[in-house]
């Protein structure tokens, strides 16, 4: 209450100070903002979005409501943003799928690298390579040699085309240069169920999905895919230690439609940077096994560079796997 009065008086003061015209960007935002999440409510991306949106609301003085526009691997939500007015009142929080769908989907209704403006990176969720709890290999080098020797007998689960686990799996197989049978599921839940039940042997998935199961002893972890060891699992080696250069993370970013005024993107970026230092956001992110992006990463430039690099990174991997989502 006190805050909103403050915000209102601030806006009034601003309006008075800046005599006429050109003030629209400075006054932004003057009404409610919609943040599109291209996945269903309650999922990991939705959780990230709601935590950030709640914190940014405090800073912007306008409510950010999260709208879940799920379907077609997140491309329906991205298409919705591409068709929205570039006024800063419609945002999109999307993950790595923004980059991979450019290759996975051959008939997108928007051009990934042209249709959007950028606010900044939000977080980069690390992945873990996990297996059923009675899987024979004892450590990471053991796992790699076991997979190479038993390539015909092991099964690797993933949560469907374009899912984090699918991307990480493709990267792993391409690094091992070993073809392994993949067993696709519709979502992480069923894939994890069958991993716990020992129906499949191993998978690679985000810490948001694996941390509690690893801690509960229902599955075992072999490696993290982050450049550094994870704070929550300091004894867990990284893939990087065994296969130099191997790293995969599910990075999340906030986008606006192309043509959004630069001041608006800057204002949102500043607000995002503040949100990412909000103790509540930091704590909740830590519980999910991830850390907020730094202030340098939460900028339009960093997200633009990341998206361009990742589109280029994944194109050959996806094309080599020959799997498309349409």
């Amino acid at each position: 209450m006190r805050f909103s009065i403050f915000a209102q008086s601030g806006a009034v003061a601003l309006a008075l100070a800046l005599s006429t015209g050109a003030a629209s960007a400075q006054q932004y935002p003057t009404r409610q903002i919609t943040m599109i999440v291209p996945f269903s409510a309650g999922g990991p991306t939705d959780t990230v979005a709601r935590l950030v949106a709640e914190s940014m609301t405090k800073d912007l003085g306008q409510t950010i409501i999260v709208e879940n526009v799920g379907g077609a691997g997140g491309t329906l939500g991205a298409a919705r943003l591409a068709a929205s007015a570039p006024d800063g009142y419609t945002l999109l929080l999307h993950h790595i799928g923004m980059a991979t769908s450019d290759t996975l989907y051959r008939k997108l209704p928007y051009k990934t690298l042209e249709a959007f403006d950028y606010v900044g990176l939000v977080t980069d969720v690390p992945m873990t390579i996990v297996a059923r709890k009675d899987f024979p290999p004892g450590d990471l080098p053991g796992l790699i040699s076991y997979l190479k020797e038993n390539a015909d007998d092991v099964n690797m689960a993933n949560a469907g085309l374009g899912a984090a686990s699918h991307l990480c799996g493709m990267m792993l197989l391409s690094a091992l240069e070993t073809p392994i049978q993949t067993i696709p599921y519709k979502g992480t839940g069923p894939a994890m169920t069958d991993l716990i039940g020992g129906q499949v042997d191993f998978m690679c998935d985000q810490t948001t999905n694996t941390t509690t199961q690893i801690n509960g002893g229902t599955i075992k972890a072999y490696a993290a895919t982050s450049p550094e060891r994870l704070a929550i699992f300091p004894d867990l080696p990284t893939m990087n230690e065994v296969i130099p250069g191997f790293q995969a993370g599910i990075w999340h970013g906030i986008y606006t439609p192309a043509g959004t005024p630069d001041e608006v993107n800057r204002r949102l970026s500043a607000s995002l940077q503040k949100a990412l230092t909000d103790p509540n956001v930091v704590t909740r992110f830590a519980e999910l096994g991830t850390a907020p992006s730094t202030a340098e990463e939460a900028t339009p430039e960093a997200l633009k560079a990341k998206l361009e690099a990742e589109v280029a990174l994944w194109r050959p991997i996806i094309e080599a796997a020959g799997q498309y989502a349409d």
Partner: protein, 501 residues
């Protein structure tokens, strides 16, 4: 060891005035939204989820669980009163429940549904409390091969859902299977039957299909001729079930509770089969199979009990493993994560008050629902006396809002219109929508599990016979087929139809 200590802790947590209030608010909200046709449980929870973010974790989960059962009760209400199931399980209730309503026994049907659900809720809550960990172990034994065999059994048994020609029922199952193929192939990413419409990439909407073939078709039929508006014209007789009704519902409620509790623990579609399986069983063992489809009280009592029992036991995989058994449970996982609780094997030990409080609140929620719904029955039944020219547009508006709210996708609205016409055509051809819905729901899951099992076995089909649980289910499937095809039984069916003619 101290199951009683745990339950006492649970009731202490759940019975604080604050939590009781949220439980009541949950079931009330759930019932209200569930009664709105077209709004299924998943849509309801998805929309109300943000409301709970401001509450404490225990209160939030108690309220969400309340919305879950509440919406299920509400969904049955519309299935019975206006033939509008909000989800697959109440599609079965609609078969006999709506016929009871047309005979002026809407009140009885609603009371039977409420009482049966309450009983099932009590038993399955106790099951969750006592057997959660061992039951989880059983559920984990179900791999792709077992699920395939289970779904095959379900599909074969679903033919018994029909009260007309077996051939037509089969045709409807197959049509449902075909409609279920629309979308993106999970395994290769190929698009199937989507005709360039990106909105169809994730398949047709179940809610749009159900609302169309059940609801819109029924409305069209009613508009056809003033005189066939049976629901309105029949005087609504006594609201409370008679002694005879109670006698007839006892067995179905007990069996439904058992079936529902067992199938509910299977993550990945077990619960969907519960109400269908209960209906099939009741019809098979009934002394009056000819009454099924014409307002048999057993056809409401069995599936409703199974449905509610399954709803409760589907919490088992969530609470013991952190695995969501269905989309609603996936939303609950989201709610827990946002509340800072990571659902998983550790929840019972780390947060005993939350774990047991939630279980105790299930029972309290069911009691509240019974107390809430029994007096409301009179009110719901009065809804039927609202003139149709007012009721129809309202129903259609709510259906459309409900369906649109699920994905914010205008294509789902066109789907309702298209499926409404399909449903009307089916009514004219005397084909029934329930087997179609079952085929639609089970088909894609069956295909997925079949292909997954074959991938794991490297293309060896004997995997279905060498895995004991799968083999047992396949044997049961053969038995059901034999029963359907056995000459004496077929003769009995024919006699039944002659009587009808």
């Amino acid at each position: 060891m101290n199951i009683f200590d745990n339950l006492i802790l649970g009731f202490q947590t759940a019975a604080t005035p604050e939590n009781l209030l949220f439980c009541l608010a949950g079931v009330l909200l759930g019932t209200l939204v569930g009664v709105l046709p077209g709004l299924g449980v998943t849509a309801t929870i998805a929309m109300l989820l943000p409301l709970t973010f401001q509450l404490g974790p225990t209160s939030a989960l108690i309220m969400l669980a309340g919305i879950y059962y509440g919406a299920q009760y509400g969904g049955s209400t519309t299935a019975i009163l206006i033939n509008l199931p909000g989800e697959s399980s109440s599609a079965v209730t609609a078969i006999d429940g709506y016929q009871m309503a047309r005979k002026g026994r809407a009140g009885t049907a609603l009371a039977v549904a409420a009482l049966g659900s309450f009983f099932a809720g009590c038993v399955s809550t106790l099951l969750v409390a006592i057997f959660a960990p061992p039951l989880t172990t059983v559920a984990l034994k179900f791999g792709p091969a077992e699920y395939f065999s289970l779904m095959l059994l379900g599909l074969v048994a679903s033919i018994a859902l029909a009260h007309g020609s077996i051939l037509k029922a089969l045709a409807m199952v197959v049509l449902g299977l075909l409609l279920g193929l629309v979308g993106t192939d999970v395994f290769t990413g190929s698009e199937r039957f989507i005709f360039g419409v990106r909105e169809f990439a994730d398949g047709l909407s179940f809610v749009a299909l159900a609302v169309g073939v059940f609801g819109v078709a029924e409305i069209l039929r009613n508009l056809e001729d003033e005189k066939t508006r049976t629901v309105l014209q029949t005087k609504v007789s006594n609201l409370w079930p008679s002694k005879e009704d109670f006698r007839r519902m006892a067995g179905p409620v007990l069996r439904g509770t058992g079936i529902g509790s067992l199938l509910g623990i299977l993550p990945g579609g077990g619960a969907i089969l519960a109400s269908f399986a209960a209906y099939t069983v009741e019809k098979r063992i009934s002394k009056h199979p000819e009454e099924f489809g014409k307002g048999a009280i057993e056809g409401v009592a069995g599936p409703e009990s199974a449905n509610n029992a399954g709803a409760q036991t589907s919490f088992i995989p969530l609470l013991t493993l952190g695995i969501p058994a269905n989309p609603v449970m996936a939303l609950m996982v989201g709610a827990m994560i946002i509340q800072g609780i990571t659902p998983g094997p550790g929840v019972a030990a780390e947060k005993p008050d939350l774990f047991w409080g939630l279980i105790a609140s299930m029972w309290i929620g069911n009691l509240l629902l019974l107390l809430l719904n029994l007096p409301l029955i009179g009110l719901w039944v009065k809804m039927l006396t609202v003139p149709y020219y007012i009721l129809f547009p309202i129903i259609m508006a709510f259906c459309s809002v409900g369906v649109y709210s699920v994905n914010g996708n205008a294509f789902d609205l066109y789907s309702i219109c298209a499926f409404g016409l399909v449903g009307y055509l089916m009514l004219k051809l005397k084909c029934e929508p329930a087997p179609l819905l079952l085929g639609f729901v089970l088909g894609p899951m069956m295909e997925e599990n079949l292909r997954r099992a074959m991938l794991i076995s490297r293309g060896d089909p004997t995997t279905f016979l060498t895995r004991p649980i799968s083999a047992g289910l396949l044997i049961a499937t053969v038995l059901v087929l034999l029963v359907v095809l056995l000459p004496s039984i077929r003769k009995r069916r024919e006699e039944v139809f002659q009587e009808e003619d």
